[in-house]
């Protein structure tokens, strides 16, 4: 009994030894810089919590935070809406079509965010094909401002976020027994009733999961708002970059980075209270 325990312990010890290099590397390359960021946020320019105090006193910081949360929330809403439709269609399609659709969803993943942002500028700009067509058909007199403003930022971000929503929702929908919908129909429910009362409630965990994921990722956007916002949409990631690179208020920059991190961890914690995160992401 005792020796079995010892064996067990030494086996665990061996496993730990194998994992140790990876852990050390993670500690060195991840946690040390992270600790440095947290430390800077309470020591620069002088020790104390005055950087965090700015969250409550600086209208500039508050405005950037509110803009970030607002844009992330709107992005999440539209990404879920579009993603739900695509995931639903994928769920219902034949295996062959499903595969094509999956490729279609994944393809944009391979294109850099920078390239996609410039592509939107070219497509939606005042001289772009869309505006040229609108003007040529007489639908509008003047080109519509679709980029270099908040609309542009939202279009760019929703485009990037839809695949995340689709994949998460699709994983969730695949686990739902379609027989349930058929049963509801056979019991006299209309198509809409069967969807609303049977299918939709079953996808709520997927919606919560996809929504949290998209929201968290949206909070940290940098390139898209910087290019598509025309310099007028300031989200927190760019705000941090300005503090680190230009104004050299590293205390303020690191404080905002830490705040963002805590907010994200908070979102994940809240998510884990509601649903089984591991199952949701297919682990």
């Amino acid at each position: 009994m005792l020796s079995a325990n010892r064996q067990e312990a030494s086996r665990h010890g061996a496993y730990w030894l194998i994992v140790l290099p990876a852990l050390l590397m993670l500690a060195l390359l991840y946690f040390v810089p992270l600790g440095n960021v947290l430390l800077t946020s309470v020591t620069d320019p002088k020790p104390g919590l005055q950087n965090y105090g700015l969250l409550f006193t600086s209208t500039s910081v508050q405005k950037a935070l509110v803009t970030t949360v607002r844009i992330a929330a709107i992005t999440t809403f539209f990404a879920l809406l579009l993603g739900y439709v695509v995931a639903y269609a994928m769920r219902a399609a034949s295996t062959r079509t499903q595969r094509f659709m999956l490729v279609g969803v994944l393809l944009p993943f391979w294109i850099s965010v920078l390239v996609r942002s410039f592509a939107w500028i070219a497509l939606l700009g005042t001289q772009g094909p869309l505006n040229s067509a609108l003007v040529a058909w007489g639908l509008v007199d003047e080109p519509v401002a679709l980029v270099r403003n908040e609309t542009g930022v939202l279009i760019g971000m929703v485009h990037i976020m839809v695949p995340y929503a689709v994949l998460t929702l699709y994983a969730n929908m695949r686990g739902i027994d379609v027989g349930l919908v058929a049963a509801a129909r056979s019991l006299g429910a209309s198509r809409f009733q069967a969807f609303r009362m049977v299918f939709l409630p079953l996808t709520v965990p997927g919606l919560i999961g996809a929504g949290t994921l998209v929201f968290i990722l949206s909070l940290g956007f940098y390139v898209t708002p910087a290019l598509l916002g025309g310099g007028k949409v300031l989200m927190i990631a760019e705000y941090v970059a300005v503090q680190i690179n230009d104004t050299l208020r590293w205390g303020l920059g690191t404080m905002l980075a830490a705040t963002l991190m805590i907010a994200v961890l908070g979102c994940l914690w809240a998510l884990s209270r509601v649903i089984d995160v591991k199952r949701l992401f297919g682990a």
């Binding site: 405005k63 005042t126 270099r148 949409v233 300031l234 970059a241 690179n245 104004t247």
Partner: protein, 370 residues
């Protein structure tokens, strides 16, 4: 001139620049320090140790080739036993601070601007210019300060579409602010230097009353035009916005307006009138190890021949007025340092920015956001 650069871009550039090549140790150390790698990592490099090499840091792109030809090659010709290399990764203030703080100073001479030199010099990030060796009589008095000496002139100029308004073109910033007379999208840079001055000039403030800048008045002016404008953060993006017809008038660097005019066969042009001229400058990080070579190099770079050459290759205006005499009338038309052009412009207020740049930048960003 400062570009905000994404950390990922820096790493990307770092990878591209080291892949398959042997780099002089100090350049490599500089790149490593700049992206925050521990100096121990630098020991893994195959590069050779070379303490005598002068490391000149600029903003990359065509500036590497141009400065090599106009300044580094003549320097090496004059001092054949010395070595010098250009590192184009950009001496942003955050990177200078990181390097000076860590006491691993791999750079010797940096290409920035006078107001930044005046701003960060007193904070202990720079070495003062050694005017016992550097010949300050080669530049205008406003271009030689304790922490930096001018290396070229650049200007922020009113750039416009020549065909959009039936032969009529904007002459000054008041025209740019007049959206009825000149309808169309405007472009500005999302930085205080230049935009604040333009807003005040549009509001009728004469050159000699611009500084100290009345922030409220300037920002109110920019807010007035905000709905009709984009504010670019990357200079190349601003140039692009003109080229693809997205914007029709606004503020652009002369070094960008000139290629824009050539690329579009004159669809776009610029005026020196009410331009804002700035001195780019050499500055030296605190603790630089280049010694005498630093000042010798700066002296060579101030020679009129190389100065004139760099205008032809890169559009950088000679800071040495003597260079104007080496250029013909055609070239002097695009030369911000030519006396007739220089006189039309407002010399940027470096002393004001040295004290107020940080707050002005934040206030401008806040005023434009939301």
């Amino acid at each position: 001139m400062s570009d905000t650069r994404d950390r990922r871009d820096e790493i990307q550039q770092f990878v591209e620049r080291t892949e398959g090549k042997v780099y002089p140790r100090r350049v490599f150390m500089g790149m490593a320090a700049a992206i925050g790698l521990a100096p121990v990592a630098a020991r893994l490099t195959p590069a050779m140790a070379d303490a005598k090499e002068l490391v000149i840091v600029n903003w990359g792109g065509d500036a590497v080739k141009g400065m090599q030809r106009s300044w580094v090659d003549p320097y090496l010709k004059k001092y054949p036993d010395r070595k010098a290399v250009i590192d184009g990764t950009g001496p942003s203030t955050s990177r200078i601070r990181m390097m000076v703080d860590s006491k691993k100073v791999a750079w010797d001479v940096m290409d920035r601007n006078l107001h930044t030199a005046l701003e960060i010099g007193p904070e202990g990030m720079l070495e003062p210019i050694d005017y016992s060796i550097v010949n300050k009589s080669k530049v205008r008095p406003e271009h030689a300060v304790e922490w930096g000496i001018g290396n070229y002139i650049y200007a922020m100029v009113l750039t416009y579409n020549t065909k959009k308004w039936g032969g009529m073109v904007p002459q000054n910033w008041a025209d740019v602010w007049d959206v009825k007379k000149f309808p169309g999208k405007r472009a500005f840079r999302r930085e205080p230097d230049g935009q604040l001055e333009a807003a005040l000039m549009a509001d009728g403030v004469p050159y000699d009353k611009i500084y100290p800048i009345d922030m409220k008045r300037a920002l109110d002016g920019l807010k007035k035009i905000k709905e009709h404008s984009i504010f670019y953060t990357v200079i190349a993006d601003g140039q692009n916005a003109f080229r693809n017809g997205e914007v029709h008038l606004g503020l652009l660097l002369n070094t960008r307006a000139w290629p824009l005019k050539q690329d579009t066969k004159g669809l776009y042009d610029w005026t020196w009138n009410q331009g804002i001229s700035w001195g780019a400058c050499w500055m030296v990080p605190k603790g630089a190890t280049g010694g005498r070579a630093i000042w010798d190099f700066i002296n060579v770079a101030l020679e009129p021949e190389g100065q004139a050459e760099l205008l032809k290759t890169n559009g950088y205006g000679p800071i040495n007025p003597e260079a104007t005499k080496l250029l013909d009338a055609e070239w002097n038309k695009v030369n911000p340092g030519a006396p007739e052009n220089y006189a039309k412009m407002l010399p940027g207020g470096i002393a004001w920015y040295a004290k107020n740049a940080t707050k002005a930048r934040q206030d401008l960003i806040d005023a434009l956001a939301g």
